[in-house]
C-alpha cells in the first residue's frame, strides 16, 4: 500500500461499560469498566470465551452499540455518540458481510463510492493485489471460497485507510490449511500497513500468533493485558492460566508450608510435595494455593528420587511430533499432563518421578485465583 500521511491513530478505552437491561431482572454487565490503550499501529488481541463481552466491546468501538458509560477516544478525539460512519473505523466481520449481487470490486469500493471518492478503482486494485485477490475482482462473492471471501472482506475494510481496523473472528470459518496461510498473511499485512488493529477472537492460538499484546477478557472485565509471552508465561490469574495454552496448564491444588530451614514447600498431597526452595514468598505459610505448570515444563524421570514427585502413568499418547503423557499424582486424585518425546516408553500403572521447572512454576491463591508474587530462587533445575 501507499504510504499513509496521517495523525497518530491510537485507541483509548476509558472505564467503558455496557449494561443490558432486562425487564424484571438485574442488569447484565456485558462490559464492566474496562480501560485500555492500543498504541498507534499496534495489533491488540481481545481474547475470551463466548459471552465474555469482547464482541460488545468491538461493537462499541465501531459505533454499532452505544456505551452505557465511559469513553472511547481515537487519535485523542472522543467518538462516543458519533455515528458509526464518521468514526473512520473499519470492521471485517466474522461472516464477511459481502453484498452478493455486487462484484468483488464493487464490494471493495462500496464505501468509497458512497462518499464520492475519486480514485476508488485504482485503490481497490492496489489493495486486491496486496491481498492476492486481483484475479477475483470481477467475480461475485457467491462463487468464492471462504478464504477468498475473508480476503475480500479484509480488502473492503482496509481500502479506506481506517484509523482503527477491527477484525471480528477473522479466521473462524476457514479450514485448517487456509487458516494457517491467511493468519500469516494477516500478520504480515498488519505489520506492513501499520493500522491500529483490534482482533477479537476466542482462539488462544490465533491471539498468541497475531497480537502484539493480548487482552484476556472474561465476565466483561480484563483478566490480563500483556504480550503473548507475558500472558503465556506469567498469567495473572487462574482464568488466564487455564484459558491460554494448549495443552492446558496443569493446575494442582495444594497448600504452602515453610520448612525449618526457611524454604518453601507446596504440598499437593500426603506424599506429593514440591520443594520451591528459598524464596521471596515470605508470609505464605499455610496458604491454600493452586500450583500451575505447563506440560512442557515437567521432566519425567524413569526412577524417582527424593527430589522428584512420584506419579503413576495413566495413559501415553504417541503423537509423532511429541508424546503426551497423562499421570496420576501419587497419593492424590490429581491428574496431570506432561509433554514428552514421542517414542518414550511408558507402561500404564508404572511409577515415575517428575521434576518441575521451578522457573516456570506458578502459584495462585486458590480463593481469589490471583497469581502469588513468588519467584523461584536462582539456579532452578536445568532443562
Amino acid at each position: 500500500m501507499a504510504e499513509r500521511h496521517r495523525p497518530v491513530d491510537d485507541l483509548v478505552l476509558q472505564r467503558l461499560t455496557k449494561t443490558f437491561l432486562q425487564r424484571g431482572k438485574a442488569p447484565v454487565y456485558a462490559v464492566n469498566g474496562i480501560d485500555l490503550t492500543v498504541g498507534d499501529g499496534e495489533l491488540l488481541g481481545l481474547l475470551g470465551p463466548s459471552g465474555c463481552g469482547k464482541s460488545t466491546t468491538l461493537r462499541m468501538i465501531a459505533g454499532l452499540e452505544e456505551p452505557t458509560s465511559g469513553d472511547i477516544r481515537i487519535g485523542g478525539r472522543s467518538v462516543v455518540g458519533l455515528p458509526a460512519h464518521t468514526r473512520n473505523v473499519a470492521v471485517a466481520f466474522e461472516n464477511y458481510a459481502l453484498f452478493p449481487p455486487l462484484t468483488v470490486e464493487e464490494n471493495i469500493t462500496f464505501g468509497m463510492r458512497a462518499r464520492g471518492e475519486l480514485n476508488a478503482r485504482q485503490r481497490a486494485r492496489d489493495v486486491a493485489e496486496r491481498l492476492g485477490i486481483e484475479h477475483l475482482l470481477d467475480r461475485k462473492p457467491g462463487g468464492l471460497s471462504s478464504g477468498q471471501k475473508q480476503r475480500v472482506s479484509l480488502a473492503r475494510a482496509i481500502v479506506r485507510t481506517p484509523s482503527v481496523l477491527l477484525l471480528d473472528e477473522p479466521l473462524s470459518h476457514l479450514d485448517a490449511a487456509e487458516r494457517d496461510a491467511t493468519r500469516r498473511e494477516l500478520k504480515r499485512l498488519q505489520r506492513e500497513t501499520g493500522f491500529t488493529t483490534v482482533l477479537v477472537t476466542h482462539d488462544q492460538h490465533e491471539a498468541l500468533s497475531l497480537a502484539d499484546r493480548i487482552a484476556v477478557m472474561n465476565d466483561g472485565t480484563f483478566q490480563h493485558v500483556g504480550t503473548a509471552d507475558d500472558v503465556y508465561d506469567r498469567p495473572a490469574n487462574l482464568f488466564v492460566a487455564d484459558f491460554v495454552g494448549e495443552p492446558r496448564m496443569n493446575l494442582l491444588p495444594g497448600r504452602l508450608r515453610t520448612e525449618a530451614d526457611g524454604s518453601l514447600v507446596a504440598a499437593l498431597g500426603p506424599n506429593a510435595a514440591v520443594a520451591l526452595g528459598r524464596t521471596t514468598g515470605a508470609g505464605l505459610d499455610g496458604q491454600e494455593i493452586t500450583l500451575g505448570i505447563r506440560p512442557q515444563d515437567i521432566r519425567v524421570e524413569a526412577r524417582g528420587t527424593a527430589r522428584t514427585l512420584p506419579a503413576t502413568v495413566f495413559a501415553f499418547e504417541p503423537l509423532q511430533e511429541l508424546g503426551r503423557l497423562t499421570l496420576n499424582l501419587a497419593g492424590t486424585d490429581q491428574r496431570l499432563v506432561v509433554e514428552t518425546h514421542h517414542d518414550m516408553v511408558a507402561v500404564p500403572g508404572e511409577t515415575v518421578g517428575l521434576q518441575f521447572d521451578l522457573a516456570r512454576t506458578h502459584l495462585f491463591d486458590t480463593a481469589t485465583g490471583e497469581r502469588l508474587p513468588w519467584e523461584s530462587a536462582p539456579a532452578p533445575m536445568t532443562r
Binding site: G33, S69, V80
Partner: protein, 292 residues
C-alpha cells in the same frame, strides 16, 4: 459528547423511561386484542342465560336463567331436540375417528419418516390433499355410496368419513416428530439386541408421546367441529352436536338462547381435553437426547 474521565458516572443501572412506555403500549394492545377475541364468547354466554322473552328485547339487562340449559339437556319438555344423544354421538364418532387414525397413522407416519419407498412422496401428498379439498367436493358421491352400503346415519359411517379429516393431520404432524428423532436412537437399540418392532415401540414411540397428544387433540377438535359430513350423512340417529345445536334455530321462532347454550356445552369436551394434555403440548421433544 466526550465525557471527561473524572466526570464519569459510576455504572449505575438507571432504568430507561422508553422501556416503560413500550411496555404499557404492549399491554394495552394485548388487552384490546383479548376483548376483541373473547367478545363473541361472552355474547354467547349472555345469550344462553337469557329467557325466550328477553331474547330480542335487551342487550345487557336481563334476569339470568338456566332455562335454556335445562331445555337443551332435556330436563324439561320444551327442548324437543334429543341433544344429549347428539352429544354422545359426537363423543363416539370423534373419539372413534381419532383412535383409528392413531392406530393407522402412527405406523404410517413412522414409515414415511424413516423409509424411502417408491411412490412414498406422492402417497404422502395425496394424504395431505384430503385437507386441501373442500368437503363439499366429495360429499354427494359419499352420500350415494353410504346410502347403498347402509352406512348412512351410522356411527361407523361417520368414523370412516372422518378419517379424511383426522388421518392426514396425524400423519403429517407425527411424521415431522419422527423426523426430528435422530435415527441413531433406534439404531442404537438394534445393536443393543432389540428387534426393529421393539426399537419402534420401546424407543421411538415414548419419544413422540407429546407429538401424539398434540396431533390427537387437534384431530379430535377438527372431528368434533365437523359440520358438513354429519349434516349430510346423518339423520336422526347419528346426528352430532354441531348439527344438533343448529336445529334449535329452525322452526317458527328461532331459539338462539338454546343454540347458544348447546354450543357452549359442546365446547366443554375439547376444552377439557386441551387442559388435560397441556403439559404435553408445551414440552420439548428430544431435549437432552443429543448434544446441546
Amino acid at each position: 459528547m466526550g465525557v471527561q474521565p473524572d466526570a464519569l458516572p459510576t455504572p449505575a443501572p438507571a432504568p430507561r423511561r422508553g422501556v416503560r412506555i413500550g411496555d404499557i403500549l404492549l399491554d394495552g394492545a394485548t388487552i384490546i386484542y383479548f376483548i376483541f377475541a373473547l367478545f363473541p364468547l361472552v355474547w354467547m354466554l349472555l345469550l344462553s342465560l337469557k329467557s325466550q322473552d328477553q331474547l330480542f328485547t335487551t342487550y345487557f339487562q336481563f334476569t339470568p336463567t338456566l332455562d335454556a340449559y335445562r331445555a337443551v339437556l332435556g330436563l324439561d319438555s320444551s327442548g324437543s331436540v334429543p341433544f344429549v344423544r347428539f352429544f354422545i354421538n359426537s363423543l363416539i364418532v370423534s373419539f372413534g375417528a381419532v383412535l383409528i387414525s392413531l392406530l393407522v397413522g402412527v405406523p404410517a407416519a413412522y414409515a414415511f419418516a424413516r423409509y424411502q419407498f417408491k411412490g412414498g412422496d406422492s402417497l404422502l401428498f395425496t394424504l395431505l390433499s384430503f385437507r386441501f379439498a373442500p368437503e363439499l367436493m366429495v360429499i354427494i358421491p359419499i352420500y350415494v355410496i353410504y346410502q347403498r352400503l347402509g352406512l348412512f346415519d351410522s356411527h361407523l359411517g361417520l368414523i370412516w368419513v372422518y378419517q379424511l379429516i383426522t388421518l392426514p393431520l396425524i400423519v403429517w404432524i407425527l411424521r415431522s416428530y419422527f423426523q426430528d428423532l435422530t435415527p441413531e436412537l433406534e439404531q442404537s437399540a438394534l445393536l443393543d439386541g432389540y428387534s426393529r418392532p421393539q426399537a419402534f415401540v420401546k424407543v421411538a414411540l415414548p419419544l413422540v408421546k407429546p407429538g401424539m397428544a398434540a396431533a390427537a387433540l387437534l384431530a379430535f377438535i377438527f372431528a368434533w367441529n365437523s359440520f358438513i359430513f354429519p349434516f349430510v350423512l346423518t339423520g336422526s340417529q347419528a346426528q352430532t352436536v354441531t348439527v344438533g345445536a343448529l336445529s334449535f334455530m329452525g322452526g317458527a321462532t328461532p331459539r338462539y338462547n338454546l343454540t347458544a347454550a348447546a354450543a357452549l356445552i359442546a365446547l366443554i369436551p375439547p376444552l377439557l381435553l386441551a387442559l388435560s394434555i397441556q403439559r404435553y403440548l408445551v414440552r420439548g421433544l428430544t431435549f437432552g437426547a443429543v448434544k446441546g
